[in-house]
Symmetry: C2
Amino acid sequence: MARPQQPRRRSDRKHADRYHHGDLPRALLHEAVRTIQKQGVDALTLRGVGDRLGVSRTALYRHFANKHALLGAVADEGFRMLRQELGDAWTSEGGGRAGFEAMGRAYVGFAVRHPSHYRVMFGRRAGAPDHPPGTPDPGLDAFGGLVNAIVEQQTLGLVRRDDPQQLATYVWSVVHGVAMLALDGILDSPARIRELTDFAIERLRTGIGPAREP
Amino acid sequence: MARPQQPRRRSDRKHADRYHHGDLPRALLHEAVRTIQKQGVDALTLRGVGDRLGVSRTALYRHFANKHALLGAVADEGFRMLRQELGDAWTSEGGGRAGFEAMGRAYVGFAVRHPSHYRVMFGRRAGAPDHPPGTPDPGLDAFGGLVNAIVEQQTLGLVRRDDPQQLATYVWSVVHGVAMLALDGILDSPARIRELTDFAIERLRTGIGPAREP
DNA sequence: ACCTGAACACCGTTCAAGT
DNA sequence: ACCTGAACACCGTTCAAGT
């Protein structure tokens, strides 16, 4: 696909001297993520993004409906990253109980390492549907992996036989809650975050484990 | 204190015709809460608040450092309301196990009934301390009630004898997580919110209950 | 002490026009 | 098809001035 015939010029100006910007939509998304990660959502302005990309501040409107849509894309990107990391955590331990706990730690870890990005993933929705029907929601996609992990543990007798969807939603609530409290500064030090995460995973385990009288 | 000598004029103009506005700080806070509740945080503008109060848009700066400070006051007000409702729930059941579960339901109920306000309570903090030292943090205040409830249940043998602070933080994580998922539209119907809340309280109970081998 | 009005620097978004 | 530049309607905030 890539034909690197035309060698990149040595002194590329800040402003793209070509008419097209290779892949502007991707560049816009990447720059938005970068800005949010480094300076927070409030620092994200369409003008700033355009400037940094050497492009007009209205160029964005060719590719995104508006700022809200850009933030939606940022959120989707975050969910993709999260799903990836959760999957890695699960498989790195070969699933089962250890894999499940690794997922929990990976979840909170993701939120702590990308606090602003994580906030964007959850902080929107004021009535807007956002996702065109037919398009898979990356958020639900990440959720699917959790449901699978639950089901496997049920067959292993590690988790009580309630509705997997309900159980998964509960588990999500717990790790999401821990993550949010960490981000809100209630948990002041990294050590305390780690402590609460471990404690939460233990209590979660007891909470969803098999019933006492089988 | 109140001396209602001067009868309120029949046709009060929208614009206060007096120099002073009875209690402008309180009025500003109340109007901000009202706006956020009805239209969301994004719809909150200092100009709008001023207009609706018949006051200049810069009058606010006499009483709040800036918009961020106003939002901080809104958050504090929310924590006060929340603490009140949690306390009511607890005492309405006479404490104990039933009281504790009522608190859980009240917590999620508060978030669902005041979604935007709840978001403001948790959605800020980007490094700012916000609370002058010495001033009690209404957030921590509400948390204190939860710790007390845990301790009482420990003496009743209903909750395992771990560190109450840690347990309380865990419980908070769970209900906060459920509330956030509800607000984010993951739980689509009120019925599903209720279901998850009840389920979460059950699993929470098993999770923090006394250890199997005492 | 408390509030106003004009001014400033900054937004998101629209739209006719350019290539 | 993709991007620009000027324009519009809106922000939060500052500050000299009024009462």
